[in-house]
């Protein structure tokens, strides 16, 4: 077991079941830059026509750049809110004594495994009532709030691993509780903060259902909604275009993932929720 030989039937089996994924993503690239021939899946001719959405609006679908900007704002805001609130709340839950700590922790834990998508209807109605419907602010707040229990829980897990002695020593040395947190404890859990930030960014960049329901109009729509809009448009049935937009949308997150995957894997350290 310590030096494994290739087991060809096993490798072949995995290759076959993995084939759809490999094929789909290879052709995502191929078809985005080639003219599509309905008879064959092999590319005939190189073209950049599928990328026209970068310079002109597809009729009825608004500008891709507005959507890109919105997506960027959306994802970064969600990261900022989630990271700041989770790292403070996680610390409080892990280390501070305050009234109703246990019940609050229970609620966070409950919400952490609670399927937030079931709340979408009442959130939609509430946003309509308070006038945040179809605004980026509204959907950012909702997404951040839904990510929070997970973030708080993860951060609490990371804080739990920091030895108490560090804090006790800090207090002995005359630092305030805040200084202890900021200068001694926070640096210890930077891997956790980084993992959470990366995770939230990817979740934000890919989010579809919330913006679809809560911010559907062309000024507020995100790339996911933009692309989904193209796909369900009956007048377009152009996989070349879809794939070009798809590639445009997926490449940043893929690159981001490649550069951050080691850090991101920290988040699975707790082994509770992926």
């Amino acid at each position: 077991m310590d030096d494994r030989k290739t087991n060809w039937p096993l490798t072949l089996f995995l290759l076959i079941v993995s084939a759809p994924i490999l094929i789909m993503y290879v052709w995502l690239f191929i078809d985005s830059v080639s003219e599509i021939n309905i008879e064959s899946i092999w590319p005939e001719k190189f073209t950049l026509r599928n990328w026209r959405f970068l310079t002109e609006e597809i009729p009825g679908h608004g500008s891709v750049w507005t959507a890109t900007l919105n997506t960027t704002i959306f994802a970064t805001s969600v990261v900022a809110i989630v990271v700041v609130l989770s790292s403070t709340a996680g610390y409080a839950l892990s280390r501070l004594k305050f009234p109703f700590r246990a019940p609050f922790l229970g609620i966070v834990l409950l919400l952490h495994s609670f399927p937030s998508v079931t709340l979408i209807i009442s959130i939609f109605l509430m946003l309509r009532m308070i006038g945040l419907y179809d605004t980026l602010v509204g959907v950012i707040l909702v997404k951040a709030a839904l990510e929070l229990p997970f973030g708080i829980w993860i951060m609490k897990g990371f804080y739990d691993t920091v030895p108490w002695e560090i804090e006790m020593a800090g207090l002995q040395d005359g630092a305030s509780r805040f200084q202890v947190w900021y200068k001694l404890v926070l640096p210890q859990i930077m891997p956790g903060v980084a993992a959470l930030a990366i995770f939230s960014f990817m979740a934000g960049w890919s989010e579809f259902v919330l913006p679809l329901i809560l911010a559907p109009s062309s000024d507020t729509r995100l790339l996911s909604v933009y692309l989904a809009g193209l796909i369900i448009d009956d007048y377009l049935s152009d996989f070349g275009l879809f794939k070009a937009v798809g590639l445009f949308y997926v490449v940043p997150v893929m690159i981001f993932y490649l550069f951050t995957q080691d850090k991101l894997m920290n988040i699975y350290g707790g082994g509770t929720k992926g």
Partner: protein, 422 residues
């Protein structure tokens, strides 16, 4: 701490409660969500006739007239049209009346500086339209004034009737629950959901285990490759992932091409086998998550234990069955229960893939149906209240299963008291 609790409460705890509240209302896009409005809609006009309101009055209520009076012209000036066009309208059309939008547009076409975009023509039409239809009134008095302004005279008795019939505010009701229990669709959706959750789960967990174990018994280069491949669906946005499956199964996509070379007619395979692909598409994503957890669980088994099994004579299949699987009982239980809950309640991938189709309710699951009922359907009337009722069932399951997880985990340990006491 405080901001976090406020945000969690505002967008999490309150929505849970509000879902229950909404489920006891008749809220819909017809009634609006704020309530207490008087609106004459096309639907109410049909209703009025049935309730024996004088046909002439009904006609008047449905009547639209486009008047270029002072009020209308003032609104036109605010649209932001070319000043030449505004000037021309003021000169040529002031005081005119049109009985239909078509006539109005015809007249606009005659202008020298005629508005080119449909958006502008529509804006003009909206500025000068005079009708009681589709106008919202917050009070009975305003409604009365609106009627008068549109030159409609009604006696008090008829007005009382009108108030009743045009009041769109939602009511408290338990009918949603009655309907839920009585409806034939409920059973169909329930069956769909059970089918979907069960088979996707089977695929998910089974495949995740196969992947984690197969890659464990491979040379590290290969196992890294396969794990990377299976992570792709998970890190790509759902919209792209599903779009690629649509292409893969499309009548000019890969499957058709591949099977075509074997002599099979091209088909839209997604439409032919909707459930198969709903399960596979969800399963691939779920399997990749399970794979991560299971792979690390296998690695957590001490290497010496597996070495011992090997020298004790256990071949890989026996190791898996007698050592690895029993030691992975907890991760498997965790993934299974976690995926059950998320499959039960999420609808993102089905929405993108089949949207409940093809045809009527073929792959419509409970969560998707709640979404369709309340937020997106072809019938025009979004039934928020009934949608919330459907959601309540899911919320109920969500809370129950989440509580179950709390029992499974060691909650006491997780909330251990802080050691520094201030």
């Amino acid at each position: 701490m405080l901001p976090a609790s406020v945000t969690v409460t505002l967008f999490f705890v309150i929505p849970v409660m509000m879902t229950f509240v909404f489920s006891f209302t008749t809220m819909s896009s017809d009634t609006g969500i704020l309530g207490n409005r008087y609106i004459v809609t096309k639907a109410t006009i049909l209703d009025l006739t049935e309730h024996g309101i004088d046909a002439a009055l009904v006609r008047q209520l449905g009547h639209k007239v486009f008047r270029f009076n002072d009020a209308g012209l003032a609104k036109i000036r605010e649209i932001g049209l070319d000043s030449s066009l505004v000037k021309e309208i003021e000169e040529k059309l002031s005081g005119d009346e049109f009985a239909s939008e078509k006539a109005l547009f015809a007249a606009l076409k005659q202008l020298i500086n005629r508005p080119r975009s449909f958006k502008h023509r529509k804006a003009i039409s909206k500025s000068v339209v005079n009708t009681i239809t589709n106008q919202e009134f917050r009070t009975a008095a305003a409604f009365r004034a609106g009627l008068v302004a549109n030159g409609i005279k009604v006696d008090d008795a008829t007005f009382g009737q009108l108030l009743d019939l045009t009041n769109t505010s939602w009511r408290w009701t338990t009918d949603n629950y009655v309907e839920l229990l009585a409806s034939d669709f409920t059973f169909k959706i329930l069956a769909n959901t059970a089918f979907y959750v069960f088979f996707t789960l089977l695929f998910n967990v089974g495949f995740a285990l196969v992947l984690a174990l197969a890659t464990f018994y491979m040379p590290s280069g290969q196992s890294k490759f396969f794990r990377a491949v299976w992570l792709i669906p998970r890190i790509s946005p759902s919209v792209i992932y599903v779009m690629l499956w649509k292409w893969f199964t499309f009548d000019s996509g890969f499957m058709s091409y591949f099977l075509g070379s074997l002599g099979v007619e091209p088909e839209n395979w997604l439409n032919e086998f909707p459930w198969t692909f709903v399960i596979i598409v969800n399963g691939f994503v779920g399997a990749s998550m399970g794979m991560i957890i299971f792979a690390s669980a296998v690695l957590a088994i001490p290497a010496d234990v597996l070495r011992a099994a090997e020298v004790d004579g256990a071949y890989p299949m026996q190791q898996v069955r007698r050592i690895i699987l029993p030691l992975m009982a907890w991760p498997i239980l965790f993934i299974t229960s976690y995926q059950t809950l998320s499959l039960l309640t999420s609808f993102e991938y089905i929405l993108l893939l089949t949207d409940g189709g093809p045809g009527f309710f073929t792959t419509e699951t409970w969560a998707l149906n709640a979404y369709h009922t309340a937020l997106s359907n072809y019938f025009g009337n979004l039934r928020y209240g009934f949608g919330a009722t459907l959601a309540v069932v899911l919320v109920f399951f969500g809370v129950a299963l989440s509580l179950l997880y709390l029992r499974l985990f060691d909650f006491k340990k997780l909330v251990a008291e802080p050691l520094i006491e201030n």
